[in-house]
Amino acid sequence: MTEPVLSVRELRVWYGTEHGPARAVDGVTFDLRPGEVLGLVGESGCGKSTLGRGVLGLLPRGAHLDGEVIYQDRNLVEASAREIQRLRGPELGLIFQEPLTRLNPLLRISEHFEETLKAHEPDLPKGEAKHRSIEVLRAMGIPPTRYRAYPHEFSGGMRQRIMIALALVLRPAFVVADEPTTALDVLVEAQIIGILADLRRNFDTSLLFITHNLGIVAEACDRVAVMYAGRIVEQGPVNDVFARPQHPYTQELLRSTISLSTTGLHYIPGAPPDLINPPSGCRFHPRCPKAMQVCPQRFPERVPVGPQTVECWLHGPDELMPDGGREILVREEITVADEA
């Protein structure tokens, strides 16, 4: 097996709030291999965006980071601000959800690109910078005629292509895409997904693709990590996870997604938990249809199940299971009043 580009180990990101720490990301572990697209799915507020930014060190003030993000034998969590700033661009990139506000309205597209290249390769001749920028833009389907235009002269989809090109112009080894298609229309979304899924072929870039849309994961990703309340509860190859989901949350999430083949409605009762006071033990247990006695008592272990890794007592490990742990847990009634 090849060395992972990026290894995240027990990463935690907590925010201080007046009611106590909010555990947006609470002990997340995953690897990203070269050229791989890893989908990170979960409902809003599960910490997936925080995770994506935490990896790049782009967190708001007041966020506390702990754990390991290993990139090229360095732990980014402990790296200095200056060190990370140098890595952002040539090594690490970020693509945003809302492309409309991410470009400086007073600067031409060309200025955005030339500034980015200059920041990391100060000796680059201007002509070369232009050439490289136009080449990347072309790969994203932006005609060279538009190189000197202003951001407001582009449509939403075009701007997102420009943002992607900006993130890729220095050919980073690893890119986080945070819901890059949420603000876009169906057809444009499909175009952008196509571009992102092709990254590995054209740019040799690994991608952490954050989305709430399971369809997009199926379309664009090699592996998927399912997040719930700050934890990755299941990860594995997309085809396996979608065909044989092992964690009850993944199963419920897949069932409640409305797709073209949906014939009946299904939903998960209750609401995602408060990250300040998460449920004890497995965080999904209050909503889990398969909850057992052990679930609220003990934190579930990370267990390999086939090609997947799952955090659920259903899959053991048996040697840690307390006596009577497998008994069914009688759940409290969940009313609409508690829903999301």
Binding site: R9, E10, R12, W14, G16, T17, E18, G20, P21, G27, T29, P60, R61, G62, H64, D66, G67, E68, G270, A271, P272, P273, D274, N277, P278, P279, S280, G281, Q297, R298, F299, E301, R302, E319, L320, A337, D338, A340
Partner: protein, 360 residues
């Protein structure tokens, strides 16, 4: 948030009877909210500003009790004149002025004048400005265009000039005095409230809840009062406070130029400063310094309050309070890996205990 959806038990009881109280509580908590939610520099500004303003208010309300003499008194109870240009000290803490007034008393009474004029002016201009702004923003079309044209023109005139002209015209027919000064200042601030309220109305009009009200079949007047007004006025406190500060300066400017209140009608700081300009050349500092300081303190108080409010209420510049937290510092990474490699239940137990300890 799930917790927000669970009501506190006190709300479960008598719903009908609790309503009035709920409203009052909401109103009070609305006033207290900026004080509670603010922090850091914003909180400091808000509180110090409020303290200053309250001090000045106390001075204004209780000026007959605080001031040793009347504002136009030039002799004490025995009929003996104070004398002019007495240095601070003795009976006259701040000295006496060219005309033989007691400077301290003038400063105290001046607070009353300033507060009265500004409150009157604020009330008038708020009422007219908000009303016209709402109308223009809501009705749009030619009403809006005409009003905007007039208000913009008024706004383009230097504020002081506009106040002078109005005071000048009114003085001719109404006479100088508190009411004239208040009306002059009113004229200055109507366009400001108009602009703010109109802009807020136009943006509120685009809100979905206003369209929802239209979809319900609400009449325009209902929409304006029940849906627009209550949301538009939220932008008013900050502006009103800052404008009050500005109004104090305009009033003083009017007084300084001789278009404010005459010394026999009420005490006015700007007027006193005008008289003090001539004194400055001869080295008499107390006639100008104290009224000037009074203006500075009141304007500062209001500005601090306004900026403090802005800091806590304006989402565009608000900072989230940073609460420092301590993360449990056990090396769970290694604990976990040990587990995966077949660690003992004991290690997991400790992690578990820790997690349970964290909950509540």
């Amino acid at each position: 948030m799930a917790t927000a959806a669970v009501p506190p038990p006190s709300d479960m009881g008598d719903v009908g009877g609790g309503r009035g109280r709920t409203r009052l509580r909401r109103f009070l908590s609305g006033i207290a909210r900026p004080y509670r939610n603010s922090h850091g520099v914003g909180r400091f500004m808000l509180i110090s500003g409020t303290v200053l303003v309250c001090l000045m208010l106390v001075m204004a309300v209780f000026s007959p009790l605080i001031a040793p003499y009347g504002f136009s008194q030039v002799a004490d109870a025995t009929g003996e004149r104070f004398g002019n240009h007495l240095e601070p000290g003795g009976d006259h803490w701040f000295g006496t002025s060219t005309q033989g007034f007691d400077v301290f008393s003038r400063v105290v009474w001046g607070a009353r004048t300033a507060v009265t004029v500004v409150l009157l002016a604020l009330a008038f201009s708020l009422f007219i400005g908000v009303l016209l702004g709402l109308l223009a923003g809501f009705i749009g079309r030619w009403v809006d265009r005409v009003l905007v044209m007039i208000m913009d023109s008024l706004y383009a005139l230097p504020a002081l000039l506009l106040a002078i002209v109005v005071a000048f015209l009114l003085a001719e027919h109404v006479g100088g005095g508190t009411a004239t000064a208040a009306l002059a200042i009113t004229a200055v601030y109507i366009p400001q409230y108009f602009r703010v309220v109109r802009a807020a109305t136009i943006s509120a009009k685009e809100q979905t809840y206003v369209e929802a009200a239209r979809a319900m079949g609400a009449r325009p007047i209902t929409i304006m009062l029940r849906y627009l007004l209550s949301n538009v006025v939220q932008s008013v406190p900050v502006i009103a406070t800052l404008n009050a500060a500005d109004a104090i300066l305009t009033l003083a400017g009017l007084g300084f130029l001789g278009y404010g209140i005459q010394p026999t009608e009420a005490s006015e700081w700007g007027y006193d400063l005008q008289r003090a300009v001539a004194d400055a050349g001869t080295g008499i500092w107390w006639t100008g310094l104290f009224p000037g300081l009074a203006i500075v303190l009141l304007v500062m108080g209001l500005t601090l309050m306004g900026e403090g409010l802005n800091e806590t209420m304006n989402p565009a510049i608000r900072v989230r309070r940073l609460v420092s937290i301590t993360m449990p510092s056990i090396d769970r990474a290694t604990a976990r890996r040990d587990d995966a490699a077949g660690g003992t239940a004991g290690t997991t137990g400790s992690v578990d205990d820790l997690r349970k300890g964290d909950v509540r």
